[in-house]
């Protein structure tokens, strides 16, 4: 569907900028990818020879993404050059490539943001009117029937209760993971030893001590007496939970730099009154005296505590100074804190054998587990798709080679292969599990995409496109790859659950992070020794895995039903 009108439009202004930007983006990708590979290599050699690794952390841990980046970078450079040469399809190709880059870059870490930024810029430029004219019309035409199908798919999604349920659960779990700090009362590795192995719903027996800073300042110029600092302190019910010790107001006043006169002594006085600030200001000195709870004075440095009552009330604290000489300046550092005790929050789901709160740990682990599952799937899909597409499209010896390699990979049971890789990498950690699973999983996608590409390649529209001079990469990106999305998305969604299960399984056996880290599989492993006396230790993490994996599988399975052309009804 060549539109002759677009072909002769001169490339200028924003379009030209975009082309160069794409080239730059490509080069940057390649550079980043190469440095990561080199960094990994150097790190490996240094570790093998026992030297300290001098490779910066942000370059390590993502070798496969680096490979993908190099590939996409190369394609991007070519694409940029094609854009300069009036090739309209290059623009829609760059649209896909930029999106792909962004997705992969999300899993790299800090360097990824650079790539994401430039890619976003490219995408924005693509939609600037001057540039849009080059490609959007054709793109819409090509996409036309697909958007209609897409909308029909959405309609079917709404009608399917299982898919909707799955999506809702996934969204809930992701939110829980993201909101972890706000919905948990304990940290991921926090332990309350006295609370070990308590059943769900137990209130903790140990009071927790907390301080809240209610005033602080550090100034260089202080005026002479009378200089008074006074504020209100509001002691509420939350501060009065544990009354073995009443809350107290803590004063820390430090005189600094008493000036040239070294013999200057400054007297600090701290007072606490049982009245709120408004009343304090309005009272007479004798009324104030009657309400005074405590006072303390000291030269130059003072640290003191004044205890308050056991009812909710407002108090006023006062700090003032008296110097021996009246013409001095000094600087003072004041910190006022309210210190109180409270109970540890309820252990909703009990604790494990070292006192870690199970509910909190599960929520924190959600973040970890979800992150690595999604990363693994993204990387495996990227690698597998690129290899599979190349293999399917170019055929020949490359195809044979890829087929044999994937065959060998398939011959191994996944868990065992992953274990062997983790052992080979040396350390047993979550990152290594990640890498191992990426290696284990990519053949699935390579085969999948290869199959699709093979089927599409034979279709007539490819021959038609080639007969009007379309380049290979254009055909691949604009026509073939969009058609491979459907089974890919289904498989990827369901695999997110599968990867989660495998990663948890590996942690369970002991190939993952060391004990103490919040990870679902690991929690089950720890809990199994106490199965008969404290079943909740293993029960809840397992349920978490089940629900998460089930949600992904519901969505994936439901989408498969929806997208299957043989099952679609119009």
């Amino acid at each position: 569907m060549e539109s002759t009108s677009n072909q002769q439009m001169p490339i200028s202004g924003p379009a030209k900028t975009l082309s160069y930007l794409e080239i730059v983006l490509g080069i940057v990708s390649i550079v980043i990818g190469l440095s990561a590979i080199v960094g990994a290599f150097v790190g490996f050699i240094m570790a093998a020879t026992g030297l300290e690794s001098a490779v910066p952390a942000f370059l390590l841990g993502w070798p496969f993404q680096a490979l993908v980046l190099i590939g996409i970078g190369y394609a991007s450079v070519n694409n940029g050059r094609a854009m300069l040469g009036y090739d309209t399809y290059a623009f829609s190709s760059s649209f896909y490539m930029d999106i792909f880059l962004i997705i992969v870059a999300l899993t790299i870490g800090p360097l990824g943001f650079l790539l994401i930024g430039v890619s976003l810029l490219c995408i924005i430029l693509l939609f600037v009117p001057a540039v849009k004219a080059h490609w959007y019309e054709e793109f819409r035409e090509d996409m036309g029937p697909r958007t209609k199908e897409f909308r029909y798919s959405l309609h079917l999604v709404r009608k399917s209760p299982l898919v909707v349920a799955g999506i809702i659960i996934v969204v809930v779990i992701v939110s829980i993971a993201l909101l972890a700090p706000y919905i948990t009362s304990y940290g991921p590795e926090e332990r309350t030893w006295t609370d070990s192995s308590v059943p769900p719903g137990t209130v903790s027996k140990v009071p927790k001590f907390s301080t809240v800073t209610i005033y602080s300042h550090n100034r260089t110029d202080v005026e002479l007496y009378p200089t008074i600092y006074a504020r209100e302190v509001d002691v509420g019910p939350q501060h009065l939970q544990v009354l073995e010790e009443n809350p107290s107001v803590y004063f820390s006043v430090i005189i600094q730099d008493a000036g040239a006169e070294s013999d200057l002594d400054v007297l600090c006085v701290a007072e606490l009154y049982a009245m709120d600030y408004a009343t304090f200001n309005a009272s007479t000195p004798s009324e104030r005296q009657a309400a005074l709870i405590g006072t303390h004075s000291r030269n130059n440095t003072m640290r003191t505590d004044i205890t308050v009552g056991d009812q909710p009330a407002k108090y006023t604290w006062v700090v003032w100074f008296n110097a021996t000489q009246k013409t001095s300046t000094w600087s003072v550092d004041i910190t006022i804190q309210l210190r109180y005790n409270y109970w540890y929050p309820v252990h909703y789901w009990g604790t494990d054998d070292v006192g870690g709160d199970i509910y909190s740990r599960i929520v924190w682990a959600a973040k970890t587990d979800l992150r690595i599952s999604v990363t693994i799937v993204i990387v495996a899909v990227s690698m597998g798709a690129v290899i599979g597409a190349a293999s399917g499209y170019y055929g020949g010896k490359l195809d044979e080679l890829v087929m044999r390699i994937t065959d060998v990979f398939f011959a191994f049971p996944g868990l065992i292969l992953a274990m062997a890789i983790v052992m080979a990498l040396g350390e047993r950690s979550l990152d290594n599990i990640s890498l191992a699973l990426m290696v284990t999983w990519w053949p699935v996608y390579a085969r999948l995409v290869r199959g699709q590409v093979l089927a599409e390649r034979e279709k007539l529209y490819v021959e038609a496109a080639r007969s009007v001079g379309a380049s290979d990469s254009r055909i691949l990106f604009t026509h073939i790859i969009p058609n491979t999305f459907q089974p890919l998305i289904v498989q990827a969604t369901m695999d997110t659950g599968g990867v989660l299960l495998t990663a948890a399984g590996l942690s369970y056996i002991g190939f993952g992070p060391p004990a103490g880290v919040a990870e679902w599989g690991l929690m089950i492993s720890i809990g199994q020794q106490y199965l008969t006396i404290a079943p909740w230790m293993s029960l809840f993490p397992g349920l978490a895995i089940l629900v998460t994996a089930l949600a992904f599988n519901l969505v994936g399975d439901g989408i498969r039903d929806i997208l299957d052309p043989k099952l679609r009804r119009r």
């Binding site: 049971p413 065992i416 080979a424 299960l501 948890a504 089950i524 994996a549 519901l554 498969r560 299957d564």
Partner: protein, 351 residues
């Protein structure tokens, strides 16, 4: 007849894969560790060492070693595994552990097929109705469940809780009750003959009691393992039934005045079974490769546990042996699946 050519072709295609695995394991044993440790362990008597070195060519160039490696494999020398209580030749370990895994896999498979196919048909014929949703969630849960956790749960409920409350409980460990065997047979306990408990107890020990004990021990791990496979089979059956039911020949069958029941169970099922059978075959191959996690939970003396221990101990002979066995299983499973496919689908048979 084309069927024979078909099989021959499949076998020929499988050979490179086996060779690839062979070569890779041989290569890895050199890269990762010390190839000598495959045959010589701490317990090998010193006198035997020079002989071993000679027969495996360790004093000769690499290509000779490779050739001797292959020759030794064929003649049954797969190295010595250090992951057992005492060092044992790899082939012997396999002969002891493989039957245990096979038995477990078969029980799991029977359970999965007997439940899975009808569920899949039910789900397909009543698509989008509540029973379909329930079945789908049920089978998807099987694929979403961490199998080790499921095993623990089963043990907790059916073994621990039942015995705590004084009810008859299912045994949760190992293949047989050791005390029972001691009481009935004597101190030597179970001396394996075929190492298939279900066969040995009946044919060689003539004891239905012991046979039943073996069955009881197979129940929980079999169910645990089978649930996952059940999920896979149900899903496959459902989707292939759905596809088949849209085909024109179903309309034709209806137009002939056949009952709906016949249409589904004769015309549709026969066609829908074809892709399902391939899945069953491959799943069985997967099961045989050692259900690591299930075996760990239920202390089942099978291949999976051996493999894990081997990896942890860097027991190269065992790792290579296991790898080779798995590759062979995979290739064989694929072959049988292709064969059955050819039998079921006449279009494939005749090209």
């Amino acid at each position: 007849m084309k069927l024979r050519d078909f099989i021959l072709r499949r076998i020929l295609l499988a050979i490179p894969v086996v060779f690839g695995v062979l070569t890779m394991t041989w290569f890895l044993s050199y890269v990762v560790g010390d190839p000598l440790s495959m045959y010589i362990t701490e317990r090998t008597p010193d006198a035997a060492i020079p002989g071993i070195i000679k027969s495996h060519g360790f004093d000769q160039p690499l290509y000779v070693q490779y050739f001797l490696y292959l020759r030794n494999l064929l003649s049954g020398d797969w190295g010595v595994s250090t992951s057992e209580a005492s060092d044992m030749p790899v082939l012997q370990v396999i002969s002891l552990r493989f039957p245990a895994t096979i038995e477990l896999a078969m029980v799991a498979m029977v359970f999965a097929v007997v439940l899975g196919i009808p569920l899949g048909i039910l789900s397909a014929t009543k698509k989008d109705r509540p029973i379909d949703h329930v079945t789908r969630v049920f089978s998807l849960a099987g694929v979403s469940m961490p199998i080790f956790w499921f095993g623990l749960l089963l043990k907790y409920v059916f073994y621990f809780q039942l015995s705590v409350h004084g009810l008859p409980a299912l045994p949760g460990d190992y293949r047989y009750d050791i005390t029972l065997w001691h009481n009935l047979v004597g101190d030597q306990g179970y001396v394996p003959i075929t190492n298939f408990m279900l066969i040995d107890t009946l044919l060689f020990y003539h004891s239905p009691v012991l046979w039943w004990d073996a069955i009881l021990h197979l129940t929980m791990p079999g169910f645990c393992l089978g649930y996952l496979t059940l999920a896979i089979i149900t899903r496959m059956m459902r989707s292939s039934m759905l596809e088949v039911l849209k085909e024109d020949y179903i309309t034709l069958a209806r137009s002939k005045g056949l009952r709906e029941r016949v249409v589904i169970y004769k015309h549709a099922l026969r066609n829908a079974l074809i892709p399902t059978v391939t899945v069953i075959g491959l799943a069985f191959g997967g099961l045989l490769s050692g259900a690591v996690l299930t075996e760990t939970i239920f202390s089942w003396p099978g291949l999976g546990r051996w493999a894990v221990r081997a990896i942890l101990n860097s027991d190269i002979a065992a790792i290579n042996g296991f790898t080779l066995l798995v590759a062979l299983i995979y290739v064989t499973a694929n072959l049988i699946v292709d064969l059955v496919y050819g039998i079921l689908d006449p279009r494939i048979r005749f090209g």
